[in-house]
């Protein structure tokens, strides 16, 4: 049945597979199942414990589990161990670190510090996610920050480290918070996307255009200031009549905000009587941006879509920044329900992530069933592969190699700092260019040579008390070596064939420690390690 008909029928409730009384995660699964004929027969089974454990740890902790954790989880007979694992991951401090990495790259795009220090920004993010700050309040804070109060300067990084370049800020706000890439609509209505109009772009721009960096744009201590006047005019480069249009601040498709007409002489709370005075208008357009945007349903929709992609590997609207009429969501009713529920739950991020993690959709295996000829990209029959982010790769490597374990053995409570420092050169190699949305799915020569021959990776293979190479040297036979190796690096038990491979490798002449090192390397360099599956 064509998708649009299915959606239409669902809207009438006649074959809806989602009932308001069920938990959200059950409703999600119902709608996913309804989204493809013969879903139950065609879909992959649930991931096995190894697959699930690794995936959940990477997504919610930002690293792989230790060998000990893996053994314990695999051996645990409790029927609710997956739910317990999800809860323990969400309660751990590493959850906030993982979200900090993710949102730092998303919002700051690896830009060098210009006006806000990285340390302060990271602290702000970590605090926000530890406290599980409601997502709308978090974004509101970022979009209303002016950098004046030093204690509250960190959230202003979004604006300040873009040098408050109004076009860049407009473009990024639309893309990140409203799921719309309006870049092309700066100069004209979007040539191919009818829903993206120049007035949408400038409606957002109008919130920002009266704002400027004060006292001087290039000062690292600059703050935001705002004039009380200034109109936003625009013209399409395609318009031969060169008609000038104008707009007041508004969300795409929304109503213009109500702007009180100030009495003459009362436009400012603090008037710019001298160039050294930071003006404060009686009515601030920029202050309204935060409230207006986070109250817009498109914000909830775009946010929920991003969290869905964060967990599932692909947005319900794909790509994440092309939400428009001719690119409908793969599961429209589902997206609407998620949006409604996120709003109803006051943008509770942990709640949302927990619900997503509890779905069968999230827990589905990524192994393609042998009967399945083609795997559609958007039906969730099989879990998607997600390349590890640079931070995930770095943390996974220090954990897989056991250097993190060795740090804990060596330094106890002080280990975390040591381990984090070890991750930095690794994530630097895998990091994308500054100022661009990050795409972790490419391999460059530098990265490959780094993995193959680089000294950082050689150091990961070092034998220190409790590192993996050290633990392998203490195993009694090839089988035990293979188990410790696979459980530590790939979070699973080796197959019979793999045990044979390891046994064969161990028979080679030469230093056993050297053989152990390169066994660890082979697994860390494998595709299975590189991807979150």
């Amino acid at each position: 049945m064509p998708r649009y008909l299915l959606a239409a029928l669902c809207a009438f409730g006649s074959i809806s597979s989602s009932h308001a009384g069920d938990s959200l995660h059950d409703r999600i699964d119902g709608l996913i199942a309804a989204g493809h004929p013969n879903f139950a027969k065609q879909a992959a089974p649930l991931a096995d414990d190894s697959e699930f454990l690794r995936r959940a740890c990477l997504d919610l902790r930002g690293s792989i589990p230790t060998a000990r954790e893996t053994r314990a989880f695999l051996a645990d007979p409790a029927s609710d161990k997956r739910e317990k694992l999800i809860d323990s991951l969400l309660a751990a401090p590493e959850y906030a670190r993982r979200m900090t990495h993710h949102f730092d790259v998303l919002l700051n795009e690896r830009r060098k510090d210009v006006k806000v220090l990285r340390a302060d920004w990271e602290k702000y993010l970590t605090h926000s996610f530890t406290a599980n700050r409601p997502f709308d309040l978090f974004v509101r804070e970022i979009l209303s920050a002016d950098g004046v109060d030093n204690e509250k300067r960190a959230p202003a990084k979004f604006f300040l480290d873009r040098d408050f370049e109004a076009n860049i800020v407009t473009r990024d706000i639309a893309r990140l918070f409203l799921g719309r890439n309006l870049q092309c609509a700066q100069c004209h209505d979007h040539p191919t996307i009818t829903d993206y109009k120049q007035e949408h772009y400038f409606g957002i721009y109008a919130f920002l255009s009266r704002t400027f960096l004060f006292p001087k744009a290039n000062l690292p201590t600059a703050v935001l200031a705002e004039k009380a006047d200034g109109d936003t005019n625009f013209m399409s480069v395609f318009d031969k009549t060169k008609t000038q249009k104008t707009t007041t601040p508004k969300m795409p498709g929304g109503k213009p905000i109500a702007e009180p007409k100030a009495e003459k002489g009362k436009e400012y709370t603090i008037a710019p009587t001298k160039p050294t005075v930071r003006p404060v208008p009686a009515f601030s357009r920029r202050a309204l941006l935060a409230m207006t945007l986070t109250a817009d349903r498109n914000f909830a929709r775009a946010s929920v879509n991003r969290f869905w992609a964060f967990m599932m590997g692909r947005g319900l609207i794909h790509p994440l920044d092309l939400d428009h009429g001719e690119n409908p969501p793969s599961h429209p009713e589902l997206l609407d329900i998620l949006t409604d529920e996120f709003i109803a739950h006051k943008y509770d991020v942990k709640w949302l992530i927990r619900e997503l993690a509890l779905t069968e959709t999230y827990q589905r295996s990524s192994v393609v069933p042998t009967g399945l000829e083609t795997v559609p990209e958007d039906r969730y029959l099989v879990a998607a592969l997600k390349p590890l982010s640079p931070e995930q790769m770095a943390y996974a490597i220090v954990q897989a190699s056991g250097q993190a374990d060795a740090d804990r053995t060596e330094a106890g409570a002080k280990a975390e700092g040591l381990t984090i420092r070890k991750t930095l050169p690794i994530s630097a190699v895998f990091a994308g260019p500054a100022g661009e949305p990050e795409d972790s799915s490419t391999a460059t020569l530098d990265q490959t040579l780094f993995l193959k021959f680089g000294p950082v990776m050689r150091d990961m293979l070092a034998k220190r008390p409790n590192s993996l190479v050290d633990r392998l040297s203490k195993q009694k036979d090839a089988r035990a070596v293979a188990e410790e190796l696979f459980l530590s690096v790939l979070t699973r038990k080796p197959s019979a064939e793999e045990i044979t491979d390891v046994a064969d490798a161990l028979k080679a002449k030469g230093d056993p420690e050297a053989i152990h090192r390169e066994l660890v390397w082979s697994l860390m360099a494998s595709g299975e390690f590189r991807f979150n599956h």
């Binding site: 370049e165 076009n167 860049i168 473009r171 870049q183 092309c184 700066q186 191919t192 990524s366 192994v367 393609v368 083609t374 795997v375 990209e377 592969l385 390349p387 990091a431 994308g432 260019p433 500054a434 100022g435 661009e436 795409d439 799915s441 490419t442 391999a443 460059t444 020569l445 530098d446 990265q447 490959t448 040579l449 780094f450 193959k452 021959f453 680089g454 000294p455 050689r458 793999e498 491979d501 490798a505 080679a508 030469g510 050297a514 053989i515 090192r517 390169e518 066994l519 390397w521 082979s522 697994l523 360099a525 494998s526 595709g527 299975e528 590189r530 991807f531 599956h533």
Partner: protein
């Protein structure tokens, strides 16, 4: 290894392309080295076009190189000398290059309207003014993408720098993807981590690669993952470069050749560039530093041009001797020129208003001089061009159409600035 499950699907080519950043070209049947046959490899090389940019970092002075104004108030102490092209004179600091003038095209009317290093660099390497809305790819990435081929075993874009401290290649390929970003060679040394570490024997390397491959293949099959396959291929590609590691070792050149270039850093770097270009690398940029002569402009240029003159001419002769000159575009550029006005420290400052670029090789009309500046070099009087015109010219010289588009995310982006056009006067 070919995995048939996904080969002909659109998703596969998109995945592969995304992971390797390669273009959607038809791949020749792959042998271990990626060529259909050794003979085909040779023919491929002969018809392949290459580009070499010599980047005089800091901003070389046009008055001390290609457009001298002796005996004027701004001219400075150096004279001009005749060249192998009657009527054309260049600075006396370039006696050997003067003898090569019949191979060079000199553009004297460059006005990029930009006096800052970073934007000037962007203009000269991307042919566009810096634009907050979009990052354009550097000439190196464009060349590697459009002139390179899927079967190339060497990276298509290499940048040789005096030292790689703080250098980054992260933004030079822009939307073309990281595959076309420059491999940075600091002081002309091989790419970082190219050589097998001492703690890893060849045998151990082969064994561990075999196990890595086995695991990856098994995984890729069970997930039908083209992206994983592409990831594994990146190791094969690295291996191919590793096996050609000698290419990066300039010491392997016969003494006779290296003597012609000289023994100093720039000489070695330019010799390395020739080695790489000869082996099939599509684009090599060699940076020579430091031309930012705000003080002691004349002493520095005396020294710098001394370092430049001999290797540059040896390079052109070398390309010619190897039959490579007609298929290799050579460009000598900087981020801008230097002010005619001499400051109080005997220096010249940044000057994008009236300066020069020199070209040679593929598609270039030797002996051509286009553009004029006034008597004391303060303005362009004839045939003013900017970075956009130059970029068009480079592309046309190597047989590419600068009016075409790239399509990042299905959005048309002209390869060169549509407001500019090639400088026909210097195209052969």
């Amino acid at each position: 290894m070919r995995a048939p499950y996904f080969c002909n699907t659109a998703a596969h080519s998109v995945n592969r392309r995304a992971f390797l950043g390669t273009s959607l070209g038809a791949a020749a049947a792959l042998t271990p080295l990626g060529f259909a046959s050794a003979a085909a490899a040779k023919t491929l090389q002969k018809s392949q076009k290459r580009v070499c940019v010599i980047y005089l970092s800091g901003g070389a002075s046009q008055l001390e190189t290609w457009d001298p104004k002796p005996n004027t108030d701004n001219g400075g102490p150096f004279r001009s000398i005749p060249t192998s092209v009657p009527g054309t004179h260049i600075s006396e600091l370039l006696p050997l290059s003067a003898k090569q003038a019949h191979r060079l095209a000199i553009v004297r009317g460059v006005n990029t309207k930009e006096n800052s290093h970073s934007p000037g660099r962007t203009i000269m390497l991307t042919g566009r003014r810096p634009d907050p809305a979009i990052q354009y790819p550097h000439l190196g990435a464009v060349s590697a993408k459009l002139l390179g081929s899927e079967s190339d075993t060497l990276p298509g874009h290499i940048s040789i720098l005096p030292n790689a401290e703080g250098a980054s290649n992260k933004s030079d390929a822009a939307f073309l993807g990281p595959k076309f970003a420059a491999i940075l060679l600091g002081d002309g040394k091989p790419p970082a981590n190219l050589l097998r570490p001492k703690t890893l024997t060849e045998e151990a390397d082969l064994q561990r690669e075999a196990l890595r491959k086995k695991l990856t293949d098994r995984f890729a099959r069970s997930r039908r993952s083209a992206a994983t396959e592409a990831y594994s291929e990146s190791f094969d590609q690295a291996d191919q470069i590793f096996r050609q590691a000698d290419l990066f070792d300039v010491a392997k050149e016969p003494a006779k050749t290296s003597d012609r270039y000289g023994k100093h850093d720039f000489a070695r770097h330019l010799l390395l560039a020739r080695r790489l270009l000869e082996a099939g690398v599509t684009y090599v940029k060699v940076s020579h530093s430091n031309y930012d002569t705000h003080h002691e402009n004349f002493d520095f240029h005396l020294e710098q041009m001394g370092e430049f003159d001999r290797p540059f001419t040896a390079f052109l002769d070398d390309l010619q001797d190897r039959g490579m000159l007609e298929s290799t575009l050579v460009v000598v550029m900087a981020e801008f020129g230097r002010t005619p006005k001499i400051n109080d420290r005997y220096g010249r400052d940044h000057w994008g208003t009236a300066w020069s670029v020199a070209l040679a090789g593929c598609g270039i009309k030797g002996g051509a001089v286009v553009g004029k500046t006034n008597a004391n070099g303060t303005a362009v009087t004839d045939r003013e061009v900017n970075g956009g015109h130059l970029f068009h010219t480079y592309l046309r010289a190597v047989g590419l159409d600068p009016k075409k588009n790239f399509y990042p995310n299905d959005r048309p982006v002209p390869i060169a600035d549509p407001a500019a056009a090639a400088i026909d006067e210097i195209l052969a």
